[in-house]
Amino acid sequence: MPDEPKPTTPAAPPAAPAPPKAAPPKPPAVMAWTPLESELATELKRQFGDRVVEASSYVGQSFFVVKRDEVISIIEYLKVEANFDYLVDITAVDWPKRVERFDLIYIVYSFALNERIRIKTTIPDGFRPESAVRVHRTANWLEREVFDMFGIEFAGHPDLRRILLPEEWQGHPLRKEYPLLQQDQDWVQTNLDIERGQ
Protein backbone atom coordinates (compact mmCIF):
# COMPACT_ATOMS: atom_id res chain seq x y z
CA MET A 1 0.00 0.00 0.00
CA PRO A 2 1.56 3.35 -0.94
CA ASP A 3 1.96 5.22 2.29
CA GLU A 4 1.58 8.80 1.28
CA PRO A 5 2.83 11.10 4.01
CA LYS A 6 -0.27 13.24 4.01
CA PRO A 7 -0.31 15.10 7.30
CA THR A 8 -3.47 17.06 7.89
CA THR A 9 -2.09 20.54 8.23
CA PRO A 10 -3.47 22.37 11.24
CA ALA A 11 -3.83 25.54 9.13
CA ALA A 12 -6.64 24.21 6.97
CA PRO A 13 -8.60 21.52 8.74
CA PRO A 14 -11.28 19.90 6.62
CA ALA A 15 -14.74 21.25 7.24
CA ALA A 16 -16.13 17.79 7.78
CA PRO A 17 -14.34 14.77 9.24
CA ALA A 18 -12.60 12.69 6.63
CA PRO A 19 -15.03 10.29 5.00
CA PRO A 20 -14.46 6.72 6.10
CA LYS A 21 -13.24 5.66 2.68
CA ALA A 22 -11.35 8.47 0.95
CA ALA A 23 -10.85 6.33 -2.14
CA PRO A 24 -7.91 4.32 -0.88
CA PRO A 25 -6.33 1.79 -3.20
CA LYS A 26 -7.93 -0.99 -1.22
CA PRO A 27 -10.57 -1.00 1.51
CA PRO A 28 -9.20 -0.82 5.05
CA ALA A 29 -8.48 -4.04 6.83
CA VAL A 30 -11.15 -5.23 9.20
CA MET A 31 -10.14 -7.14 12.26
CA ALA A 32 -11.88 -10.45 12.73
CA TRP A 33 -14.59 -10.75 15.37
CA THR A 34 -14.97 -14.14 16.85
CA PRO A 35 -18.15 -15.35 18.51
CA LEU A 36 -17.78 -15.42 22.24
CA GLU A 37 -18.33 -18.67 24.03
CA SER A 38 -18.28 -18.36 27.76
CA GLU A 39 -20.45 -19.19 30.70
CA LEU A 40 -21.59 -15.61 30.92
CA ALA A 41 -22.58 -15.52 27.27
CA THR A 42 -24.64 -18.68 27.61
CA GLU A 43 -26.21 -17.42 30.80
CA LEU A 44 -27.17 -14.07 29.25
CA LYS A 45 -28.58 -15.80 26.17
CA ARG A 46 -30.60 -18.10 28.37
CA GLN A 47 -31.89 -15.23 30.48
CA PHE A 48 -32.62 -12.68 27.77
CA GLY A 49 -33.01 -14.85 24.65
CA ASP A 50 -32.85 -13.00 21.36
CA ARG A 51 -32.66 -9.65 23.12
CA VAL A 52 -28.95 -10.36 23.27
CA VAL A 53 -28.23 -9.94 19.58
CA GLU A 54 -24.58 -10.82 19.52
CA ALA A 55 -21.84 -11.99 21.85
CA SER A 56 -18.39 -11.51 20.40
CA SER A 57 -14.79 -11.24 21.29
CA TYR A 58 -12.48 -8.84 19.57
CA VAL A 59 -8.74 -8.51 20.25
CA GLY A 60 -9.40 -10.44 23.42
CA GLN A 61 -12.15 -8.12 24.63
CA SER A 62 -15.68 -9.38 25.00
CA PHE A 63 -18.72 -7.41 24.09
CA PHE A 64 -22.44 -7.99 23.84
CA VAL A 65 -24.72 -6.25 21.40
CA VAL A 66 -28.17 -6.00 22.91
CA LYS A 67 -31.57 -4.56 22.02
CA ARG A 68 -31.85 -0.94 23.06
CA ASP A 69 -34.81 -1.37 25.38
CA GLU A 70 -33.06 -4.07 27.38
CA VAL A 71 -29.75 -2.37 28.17
CA ILE A 72 -30.58 -1.32 31.70
CA SER A 73 -32.24 -4.58 32.70
CA ILE A 74 -29.18 -6.46 31.41
CA ILE A 75 -26.83 -4.16 33.30
CA GLU A 76 -28.95 -4.60 36.40
CA TYR A 77 -28.92 -8.36 35.94
CA LEU A 78 -25.14 -8.28 35.52
CA LYS A 79 -24.77 -6.24 38.68
CA VAL A 80 -27.12 -8.23 40.87
CA GLU A 81 -26.67 -11.77 39.58
CA ALA A 82 -23.24 -11.85 37.94
CA ASN A 83 -21.22 -9.54 40.21
CA PHE A 84 -20.44 -6.90 37.59
CA ASP A 85 -20.62 -4.21 40.23
CA TYR A 86 -18.43 -1.49 38.74
CA LEU A 87 -19.68 0.62 35.84
CA VAL A 88 -16.47 1.81 34.22
CA ASP A 89 -17.77 4.07 31.52
CA ILE A 90 -20.69 5.12 29.36
CA THR A 91 -19.97 6.63 26.01
CA ALA A 92 -21.34 6.97 22.51
CA VAL A 93 -20.08 6.93 18.95
CA ASP A 94 -21.77 8.86 16.16
CA TRP A 95 -22.28 7.18 12.76
CA PRO A 96 -24.29 9.85 10.90
CA LYS A 97 -24.84 7.74 7.79
CA ARG A 98 -26.62 5.00 9.67
CA VAL A 99 -30.33 5.03 10.37
CA GLU A 100 -29.69 4.07 13.96
CA ARG A 101 -27.15 6.74 14.25
CA PHE A 102 -25.53 6.29 17.65
CA ASP A 103 -23.67 3.45 19.26
CA LEU A 104 -24.17 3.54 23.01
CA ILE A 105 -21.46 1.73 24.93
CA TYR A 106 -21.48 0.65 28.55
CA ILE A 107 -18.33 -0.85 30.04
CA VAL A 108 -18.77 -2.91 33.19
CA TYR A 109 -16.21 -4.69 35.31
CA SER A 110 -16.46 -7.38 37.95
CA PHE A 111 -14.01 -7.23 40.85
CA ALA A 112 -14.84 -10.80 41.82
CA LEU A 113 -14.32 -12.32 38.37
CA ASN A 114 -11.67 -9.84 37.23
CA GLU A 115 -13.49 -9.52 33.94
CA ARG A 116 -14.45 -6.52 31.87
CA ILE A 117 -17.17 -6.53 29.23
CA ARG A 118 -18.81 -4.03 26.98
CA ILE A 119 -22.53 -3.76 26.39
CA LYS A 120 -23.35 -2.12 23.11
CA THR A 121 -26.56 -0.96 21.56
CA THR A 122 -27.62 1.27 18.70
CA ILE A 123 -30.16 4.06 18.92
CA PRO A 124 -31.63 6.45 16.34
CA ASP A 125 -31.42 10.21 16.78
CA GLY A 126 -34.05 11.46 19.19
CA PHE A 127 -34.50 8.15 20.98
CA ARG A 128 -34.45 8.50 24.75
CA PRO A 129 -32.65 5.52 26.27
CA GLU A 130 -33.36 4.63 29.86
CA SER A 131 -30.96 6.09 32.40
CA ALA A 132 -28.64 3.76 34.30
CA VAL A 133 -28.52 5.96 37.41
CA ARG A 134 -30.92 3.78 39.37
CA VAL A 135 -28.51 0.84 38.95
CA HIS A 136 -25.13 2.58 39.13
CA ARG A 137 -24.71 6.03 40.64
CA THR A 138 -21.60 6.64 38.51
CA ALA A 139 -23.91 6.89 35.52
CA ASN A 140 -25.08 10.33 36.65
CA TRP A 141 -22.14 12.37 35.39
CA LEU A 142 -21.24 9.93 32.62
CA GLU A 143 -24.72 10.25 31.10
CA ARG A 144 -24.63 14.00 31.54
CA GLU A 145 -21.46 14.05 29.50
CA VAL A 146 -22.97 11.90 26.76
CA PHE A 147 -25.95 14.28 26.71
CA ASP A 148 -23.64 17.29 26.56
CA MET A 149 -21.48 15.94 23.76
CA PHE A 150 -23.99 14.00 21.66
CA GLY A 151 -27.41 15.32 22.63
CA ILE A 152 -28.70 11.92 23.70
CA GLU A 153 -31.31 12.41 26.40
CA PHE A 154 -31.61 9.75 29.03
CA ALA A 155 -35.12 9.08 30.29
CA GLY A 156 -35.37 9.07 34.07
CA HIS A 157 -32.07 10.81 34.71
CA PRO A 158 -32.39 12.83 37.93
CA ASP A 159 -30.41 15.86 36.80
CA LEU A 160 -29.84 15.95 33.05
CA ARG A 161 -27.91 19.16 32.45
CA ARG A 162 -24.85 19.97 30.40
CA ILE A 163 -21.72 19.22 32.36
CA LEU A 164 -18.61 20.41 30.54
CA LEU A 165 -20.11 23.09 28.32
CA PRO A 166 -22.11 26.08 29.62
CA GLU A 167 -25.85 25.63 30.04
CA GLU A 168 -26.80 27.96 27.18
CA TRP A 169 -24.42 26.42 24.64
CA GLN A 170 -25.96 25.48 21.30
CA GLY A 171 -25.10 22.21 19.61
CA HIS A 172 -23.41 18.99 20.64
CA PRO A 173 -19.72 18.97 19.68
CA LEU A 174 -19.04 15.27 19.29
CA ARG A 175 -21.69 14.86 16.62
CA LYS A 176 -19.82 14.45 13.38
CA GLU A 177 -21.56 17.36 11.65
CA TYR A 178 -20.31 19.79 14.30
CA PRO A 179 -17.22 21.28 12.64
CA LEU A 180 -13.96 21.73 14.46
CA LEU A 181 -13.91 25.50 14.28
CA GLN A 182 -17.52 26.13 15.16
CA GLN A 183 -18.27 27.60 18.48
CA ASP A 184 -21.31 29.18 19.88
CA GLN A 185 -20.91 32.81 18.77
CA ASP A 186 -23.91 34.01 20.74
CA TRP A 187 -22.68 32.47 23.93
CA VAL A 188 -19.16 33.81 23.47
CA GLN A 189 -20.44 37.33 22.75
CA THR A 190 -22.86 37.49 25.65
CA ASN A 191 -20.63 35.90 28.22
CA LEU A 192 -17.04 36.56 27.28
CA ASP A 193 -17.56 39.92 25.63
CA ILE A 194 -15.48 38.93 22.63
CA GLU A 195 -16.67 40.21 19.28
CA ARG A 196 -15.40 37.33 17.19
CA GLY A 197 -14.93 33.94 18.69
CA GLN A 198 -11.94 32.86 16.66
Partner: protein, 370 residues
Protein backbone atom coordinates in the same frame (compact mmCIF):
# COMPACT_ATOMS: atom_id res chain seq x y z
CA UNK B 1 -28.19 26.90 40.82
CA UNK B 2 -30.36 26.95 43.93
CA UNK B 3 -31.11 30.70 43.99
CA UNK B 4 -34.25 30.39 46.00
CA UNK B 5 -32.38 29.09 49.01
CA UNK B 6 -31.23 32.64 49.75
CA UNK B 7 -34.75 33.32 50.90
CA UNK B 8 -34.42 30.75 53.63
CA UNK B 9 -32.70 32.53 56.51
CA UNK B 10 -30.90 29.45 57.86
CA UNK B 11 -29.29 28.46 54.58
CA UNK B 12 -26.44 30.14 52.80
CA UNK B 13 -25.17 29.46 49.32
CA UNK B 14 -21.44 30.00 49.06
CA UNK B 15 -19.43 29.94 45.89
CA UNK B 16 -16.01 28.32 46.17
CA UNK B 17 -13.77 28.70 43.17
CA UNK B 18 -13.09 28.57 40.27
CA UNK B 19 -10.22 30.78 41.39
CA UNK B 20 -9.48 29.34 44.78
CA UNK B 21 -6.07 28.05 45.85
CA UNK B 22 -7.33 24.80 47.31
CA UNK B 23 -9.49 23.73 44.39
CA UNK B 24 -6.31 22.73 42.53
CA UNK B 25 -7.18 24.47 39.32
CA UNK B 26 -10.46 25.78 38.03
CA UNK B 27 -13.00 23.75 39.94
CA UNK B 28 -16.05 25.62 41.14
CA UNK B 29 -18.09 24.18 43.96
CA UNK B 30 -21.38 25.77 44.95
CA UNK B 31 -21.86 24.96 48.61
CA UNK B 32 -25.19 25.04 50.39
CA UNK B 33 -24.46 25.72 54.02
CA UNK B 34 -26.18 25.83 57.35
CA UNK B 35 -23.68 27.74 59.42
CA UNK B 36 -20.49 25.76 58.91
CA UNK B 37 -22.29 22.58 58.00
CA UNK B 38 -22.45 21.52 54.37
CA UNK B 39 -25.97 20.63 53.27
CA UNK B 40 -25.10 19.93 49.67
CA UNK B 41 -22.75 20.74 46.84
CA UNK B 42 -22.94 21.34 43.14
CA UNK B 43 -19.74 21.00 41.13
CA UNK B 44 -19.41 23.31 38.15
CA UNK B 45 -16.72 21.99 35.85
CA UNK B 46 -15.65 22.56 32.29
CA UNK B 47 -13.58 25.72 32.69
CA UNK B 48 -10.62 23.87 31.20
CA UNK B 49 -12.58 22.05 28.51
CA UNK B 50 -10.57 22.06 25.30
CA UNK B 51 -12.57 19.47 23.42
CA UNK B 52 -9.71 17.01 23.18
CA UNK B 53 -11.98 14.18 22.09
CA UNK B 54 -13.16 16.31 19.18
CA UNK B 55 -9.60 17.33 18.36
CA UNK B 56 -8.65 13.65 18.17
CA UNK B 57 -11.11 13.08 15.35
CA UNK B 58 -9.36 15.74 13.30
CA UNK B 59 -5.80 14.57 13.82
CA UNK B 60 -4.05 11.39 12.85
CA UNK B 61 -3.43 8.65 15.40
CA UNK B 62 0.20 9.73 15.64
CA UNK B 63 -0.54 13.44 15.80
CA UNK B 64 -2.92 13.02 18.70
CA UNK B 65 -0.26 11.41 20.88
CA UNK B 66 1.18 14.65 22.33
CA UNK B 67 -2.32 15.96 23.10
CA UNK B 68 -2.99 13.28 25.70
CA UNK B 69 -0.20 14.66 27.86
CA UNK B 70 -2.46 17.65 28.45
CA UNK B 71 -5.09 15.56 30.19
CA UNK B 72 -3.47 14.84 33.52
CA UNK B 73 -0.53 17.18 33.10
CA UNK B 74 0.90 16.16 36.45
CA UNK B 75 1.31 12.57 35.26
CA UNK B 76 1.68 13.05 31.52
CA UNK B 77 3.66 9.84 31.07
CA UNK B 78 0.74 7.73 32.31
CA UNK B 79 -1.61 9.30 29.77
CA UNK B 80 0.81 8.65 26.98
CA UNK B 81 1.21 5.04 28.07
CA UNK B 82 -2.53 4.46 28.15
CA UNK B 83 -3.06 6.00 24.72
CA UNK B 84 -0.17 4.10 23.12
CA UNK B 85 -1.37 0.83 24.66
CA UNK B 86 -4.86 1.41 23.31
CA UNK B 87 -3.68 2.08 19.78
CA UNK B 88 -1.26 -0.84 19.98
CA UNK B 89 -4.19 -3.02 20.98
CA UNK B 90 -6.04 -1.91 17.85
CA UNK B 91 -2.97 -2.61 15.74
CA UNK B 92 -2.48 -5.87 17.61
CA UNK B 93 1.21 -5.18 18.26
CA UNK B 94 3.14 -5.14 21.48
CA UNK B 95 6.07 -2.95 22.39
CA UNK B 96 9.34 -4.91 22.66
CA UNK B 97 10.56 -5.89 26.17
CA UNK B 98 13.15 -3.12 26.39
CA UNK B 99 10.58 -0.48 25.53
CA UNK B 100 8.16 -1.95 28.05
CA UNK B 101 10.74 -1.82 30.82
CA UNK B 102 11.65 1.80 30.07
CA UNK B 103 7.95 2.62 29.98
CA UNK B 104 7.48 1.08 33.40
CA UNK B 105 10.43 3.03 34.83
CA UNK B 106 9.24 6.37 33.50
CA UNK B 107 5.64 5.74 34.49
CA UNK B 108 6.61 4.87 38.03
CA UNK B 109 8.91 7.88 38.34
CA UNK B 110 6.02 9.97 37.11
CA UNK B 111 3.69 8.35 39.63
CA UNK B 112 6.10 9.33 42.37
CA UNK B 113 6.17 12.87 41.00
CA UNK B 114 2.39 13.00 40.87
CA UNK B 115 1.99 11.70 44.42
CA UNK B 116 4.60 14.14 45.66
CA UNK B 117 2.77 17.05 44.11
CA UNK B 118 -0.41 15.78 45.69
CA UNK B 119 1.21 15.38 49.11
CA UNK B 120 2.79 18.81 49.08
CA UNK B 121 -0.32 20.68 48.02
CA UNK B 122 -2.64 18.60 50.18
CA UNK B 123 -0.52 19.39 53.24
CA UNK B 124 -0.45 23.03 52.20
CA UNK B 125 -4.25 23.08 52.04
CA UNK B 126 -4.45 21.65 55.52
CA UNK B 127 -2.03 24.27 56.79
CA UNK B 128 1.29 22.43 56.92
CA UNK B 129 3.64 24.57 54.90
CA UNK B 130 6.88 22.60 55.24
CA UNK B 131 6.12 19.36 53.32
CA UNK B 132 5.61 21.10 50.00
CA UNK B 133 9.27 22.17 49.93
CA UNK B 134 10.45 18.66 50.76
CA UNK B 135 8.16 17.15 48.13
CA UNK B 136 9.14 19.52 45.37
CA UNK B 137 12.80 18.88 46.11
CA UNK B 138 12.45 15.18 45.29
CA UNK B 139 9.93 15.73 42.52
CA UNK B 140 12.53 17.86 40.79
CA UNK B 141 14.90 14.88 40.77
CA UNK B 142 12.31 12.63 39.14
CA UNK B 143 11.54 15.32 36.57
CA UNK B 144 15.24 15.70 35.80
CA UNK B 145 15.39 12.08 34.68
CA UNK B 146 12.42 12.67 32.37
CA UNK B 147 14.09 15.81 31.07
CA UNK B 148 17.32 14.02 30.36
CA UNK B 149 15.41 11.24 28.66
CA UNK B 150 13.18 13.24 26.34
CA UNK B 151 13.95 16.91 26.80
CA UNK B 152 10.61 17.86 28.33
CA UNK B 153 9.76 18.05 31.98
CA UNK B 154 6.00 17.92 32.27
CA UNK B 155 4.22 17.35 28.97
CA UNK B 156 6.77 14.81 27.93
CA UNK B 157 5.41 12.98 24.88
CA UNK B 158 7.61 10.21 26.19
CA UNK B 159 6.24 7.24 24.22
CA UNK B 160 5.35 6.45 20.65
CA UNK B 161 2.80 4.05 19.26
CA UNK B 162 4.77 0.81 19.23
CA UNK B 163 7.58 1.76 21.58
CA UNK B 164 9.86 4.63 22.44
CA UNK B 165 11.09 7.69 20.56
CA UNK B 166 14.73 7.13 21.52
CA UNK B 167 17.12 4.84 23.32
CA UNK B 168 17.53 5.80 26.96
CA UNK B 169 20.56 8.02 27.41
CA UNK B 170 23.88 6.75 28.76
CA UNK B 171 23.69 6.44 32.51
CA UNK B 172 19.88 6.20 32.53
CA UNK B 173 19.93 3.07 34.65
CA UNK B 174 22.44 4.60 37.03
CA UNK B 175 20.28 7.72 37.44
CA UNK B 176 17.15 5.69 38.12
CA UNK B 177 18.88 3.46 40.67
CA UNK B 178 20.43 6.50 42.35
CA UNK B 179 17.01 8.16 42.51
CA UNK B 180 15.39 5.11 44.09
CA UNK B 181 18.22 4.84 46.60
CA UNK B 182 17.92 8.51 47.47
CA UNK B 183 14.12 8.57 47.51
CA UNK B 184 13.19 5.87 50.02
CA UNK B 185 14.69 7.61 53.09
CA UNK B 186 12.97 10.80 51.99
CA UNK B 187 9.57 9.13 52.28
CA UNK B 188 10.42 8.43 55.92
CA UNK B 189 11.12 12.13 56.26
CA UNK B 190 7.66 13.05 55.01
CA UNK B 191 6.17 10.52 57.34
CA UNK B 192 8.09 12.02 60.22
CA UNK B 193 6.58 15.38 59.44
CA UNK B 194 3.01 14.21 59.06
CA UNK B 195 2.03 10.67 60.01
CA UNK B 196 1.94 11.20 63.76
CA UNK B 197 1.33 14.91 63.62
CA UNK B 198 -1.62 15.69 65.87
CA UNK B 199 -3.06 18.45 63.71
CA UNK B 200 -2.67 16.31 60.59
CA UNK B 201 -4.49 13.41 62.19
CA UNK B 202 -7.13 15.70 63.65
CA UNK B 203 -7.89 17.25 60.31
CA UNK B 204 -7.89 14.02 58.29
CA UNK B 205 -9.12 11.14 60.37
CA UNK B 206 -12.78 10.22 59.76
CA UNK B 207 -13.10 12.98 57.19
CA UNK B 208 -14.59 12.23 53.79
CA UNK B 209 -15.19 8.56 54.47
CA UNK B 210 -16.11 6.36 51.50
CA UNK B 211 -16.75 2.70 52.17
CA UNK B 212 -15.78 0.01 49.69
CA UNK B 213 -19.41 -0.35 48.63
CA UNK B 214 -19.78 3.36 48.03
CA UNK B 215 -16.55 3.45 46.06
CA UNK B 216 -17.87 0.78 43.69
CA UNK B 217 -21.23 2.51 43.49
CA UNK B 218 -19.58 5.77 42.41
CA UNK B 219 -16.93 4.08 40.25
CA UNK B 220 -14.16 5.48 42.44
CA UNK B 221 -10.80 3.85 41.71
CA UNK B 222 -7.15 4.21 42.56
CA UNK B 223 -5.79 4.99 46.03
CA UNK B 224 -9.27 5.99 47.21
CA UNK B 225 -10.62 2.52 46.51
CA UNK B 226 -7.61 0.85 48.11
CA UNK B 227 -7.91 3.00 51.23
CA UNK B 228 -11.41 1.56 51.61
CA UNK B 229 -9.97 -1.95 51.73
CA UNK B 230 -10.35 -3.20 48.17
CA UNK B 231 -7.09 -4.73 47.05
CA UNK B 232 -7.45 -3.81 43.42
CA UNK B 233 -4.81 -2.37 41.17
CA UNK B 234 -4.92 -2.75 37.39
CA UNK B 235 -1.17 -3.35 37.37
CA UNK B 236 -1.93 -6.61 39.17
CA UNK B 237 -5.49 -7.38 38.05
CA UNK B 238 -5.02 -6.91 34.31
CA UNK B 239 -1.26 -6.49 33.89
CA UNK B 240 0.08 -4.45 30.99
CA UNK B 241 3.53 -3.42 29.83
CA UNK B 242 5.16 -6.28 31.73
CA UNK B 243 4.04 -5.32 35.24
CA UNK B 244 3.51 -8.99 36.05
CA UNK B 245 7.28 -9.45 36.02
CA UNK B 246 7.91 -7.17 38.96
CA UNK B 247 7.51 -7.90 42.60
CA UNK B 248 5.44 -5.30 44.44
CA UNK B 249 2.58 -5.01 46.90
CA UNK B 250 -0.78 -3.29 46.71
CA UNK B 251 -1.02 -1.19 49.86
CA UNK B 252 -4.50 -1.10 51.35
CA UNK B 253 -6.17 0.34 54.44
CA UNK B 254 -9.60 -0.24 55.89
CA UNK B 255 -11.21 2.99 57.06
CA UNK B 256 -11.57 4.72 53.72
CA UNK B 257 -11.03 8.16 55.24
CA UNK B 258 -8.72 10.96 54.20
CA UNK B 259 -5.98 9.85 56.57
CA UNK B 260 -5.96 6.30 55.16
CA UNK B 261 -5.72 7.64 51.64
CA UNK B 262 -2.67 9.58 52.73
CA UNK B 263 -1.09 6.40 54.12
CA UNK B 264 -1.92 4.41 50.98
CA UNK B 265 -0.33 6.99 48.71
CA UNK B 266 2.78 7.16 50.90
CA UNK B 267 3.11 3.38 50.61
CA UNK B 268 2.52 3.54 46.89
CA UNK B 269 5.48 5.86 46.46
CA UNK B 270 7.70 3.27 48.14
CA UNK B 271 6.29 0.55 45.91
CA UNK B 272 6.82 2.67 42.81
CA UNK B 273 10.46 3.16 43.71
CA UNK B 274 10.69 -0.59 44.22
CA UNK B 275 9.26 -1.30 40.76
CA UNK B 276 11.47 1.30 39.09
CA UNK B 277 14.54 -0.19 40.76
CA UNK B 278 13.69 -3.72 39.64
CA UNK B 279 13.03 -2.57 36.10
CA UNK B 280 16.26 -0.59 35.94
CA UNK B 281 18.29 -3.49 37.31
CA UNK B 282 16.92 -5.94 34.77
CA UNK B 283 16.61 -3.64 31.77
CA UNK B 284 16.70 -6.01 28.78
CA UNK B 285 18.54 -5.29 25.55
CA UNK B 286 16.89 -5.26 22.17
CA UNK B 287 14.86 -3.04 19.90
CA UNK B 288 12.79 -0.18 21.25
CA UNK B 289 10.14 -0.09 18.54
CA UNK B 290 7.73 -2.72 17.34
CA UNK B 291 7.04 -2.97 13.62
CA UNK B 292 4.61 -0.12 13.10
CA UNK B 293 4.31 1.72 9.82
CA UNK B 294 4.90 5.47 9.79
CA UNK B 295 1.29 6.18 8.90
CA UNK B 296 -0.62 4.31 11.55
CA UNK B 297 -3.77 2.84 10.05
CA UNK B 298 -5.37 0.43 12.50
CA UNK B 299 -7.87 -2.04 11.09
CA UNK B 300 -11.56 -1.26 11.48
CA UNK B 301 -12.51 -2.01 15.04
CA UNK B 302 -12.53 -0.82 18.58
CA UNK B 303 -10.72 -1.42 21.84
CA UNK B 304 -10.82 -0.31 25.43
CA UNK B 305 -7.55 -0.31 27.33
CA UNK B 306 -7.03 1.06 30.80
CA UNK B 307 -4.08 1.47 33.09
CA UNK B 308 -3.55 2.28 36.73
CA UNK B 309 -2.78 5.98 36.58
CA UNK B 310 -1.77 7.75 39.81
CA UNK B 311 -5.39 8.86 40.24
CA UNK B 312 -7.14 5.62 39.34
CA UNK B 313 -8.34 3.82 36.26
CA UNK B 314 -7.42 5.78 33.14
CA UNK B 315 -8.99 4.21 30.09
CA UNK B 316 -9.01 4.91 26.39
CA UNK B 317 -11.85 3.65 24.23
CA UNK B 318 -10.65 3.95 20.65
CA UNK B 319 -12.62 3.30 17.47
CA UNK B 320 -10.96 3.04 14.09
CA UNK B 321 -12.60 3.22 10.69
CA UNK B 322 -9.47 2.04 8.97
CA UNK B 323 -8.15 5.48 8.09
CA UNK B 324 -5.15 7.29 9.55
CA UNK B 325 -7.44 9.40 11.72
CA UNK B 326 -9.21 8.16 14.82
CA UNK B 327 -12.94 7.78 14.35
CA UNK B 328 -13.51 8.25 18.06
CA UNK B 329 -11.26 8.54 21.07
CA UNK B 330 -12.98 8.44 24.40
CA UNK B 331 -11.01 9.14 27.55
CA UNK B 332 -12.24 7.57 30.75
CA UNK B 333 -10.61 9.91 33.23
CA UNK B 334 -10.25 8.85 36.85
CA UNK B 335 -10.42 12.40 38.20
CA UNK B 336 -13.78 13.11 36.56
CA UNK B 337 -15.40 9.98 37.94
CA UNK B 338 -13.82 10.33 41.39
CA UNK B 339 -14.92 13.96 41.66
CA UNK B 340 -18.52 12.86 41.43
CA UNK B 341 -18.18 11.33 44.90
CA UNK B 342 -17.35 14.75 46.40
CA UNK B 343 -20.96 15.45 47.25
CA UNK B 344 -21.32 12.15 49.05
CA UNK B 345 -18.12 12.75 51.02
CA UNK B 346 -18.75 16.26 52.27
CA UNK B 347 -22.50 16.20 52.91
CA UNK B 348 -22.96 16.85 56.61
CA UNK B 349 -19.31 17.73 57.14
CA UNK B 350 -17.83 21.11 57.97
CA UNK B 351 -16.80 23.64 55.37
CA UNK B 352 -13.12 23.24 56.29
CA UNK B 353 -13.41 19.54 55.48
CA UNK B 354 -14.35 20.39 51.90
CA UNK B 355 -10.80 21.63 51.42
CA UNK B 356 -9.38 18.44 52.87
CA UNK B 357 -11.65 16.27 50.72
CA UNK B 358 -10.88 18.10 47.48
CA UNK B 359 -7.22 17.60 48.34
CA UNK B 360 -7.61 13.90 49.02
CA UNK B 361 -9.50 13.35 45.76
CA UNK B 362 -6.28 14.27 43.97
CA UNK B 363 -8.04 15.73 40.96
CA UNK B 364 -6.37 17.39 38.03
CA UNK B 365 -8.75 19.65 36.22
CA UNK B 366 -7.08 19.11 32.87
CA UNK B 367 -8.32 15.56 33.11
CA UNK B 368 -11.73 16.37 34.58
CA UNK B 369 -12.54 18.84 31.82
CA UNK B 370 -10.47 17.42 28.94
Amino acid sequence: MPETTFLDATELVLNMGPQHPSTHGVLRVVLKLDGEKVLGTDCVIGYLHRGLEKVAENRTWVQFNPYVDRLDYVAAVSNSLAYCLAVEKLLNVEAPPRAQAVRVILTELNRIGSHLLWLGTHALDIGAITPVFYCFREREESIKILEKYCGARLTTHAFRIGGLPAEPYDGFQKDVLAFCEMFLPKVDEYEELLTNNRIWIGRLQNVGVLTAGECKEYGVTGPMLRAAGVKWDIRKALPYSGYDKYDFEIPTRTNGDTYDRYLVRIQEMRQSARIARQAAESLPDGPIMAKVSKVVKPPVGEAYVSIEAPKGELGFYVVSDGSAQPYRVRVRPPSFVNLQALDRMVRGALIADVVAVIGTLDIVLGEVDR
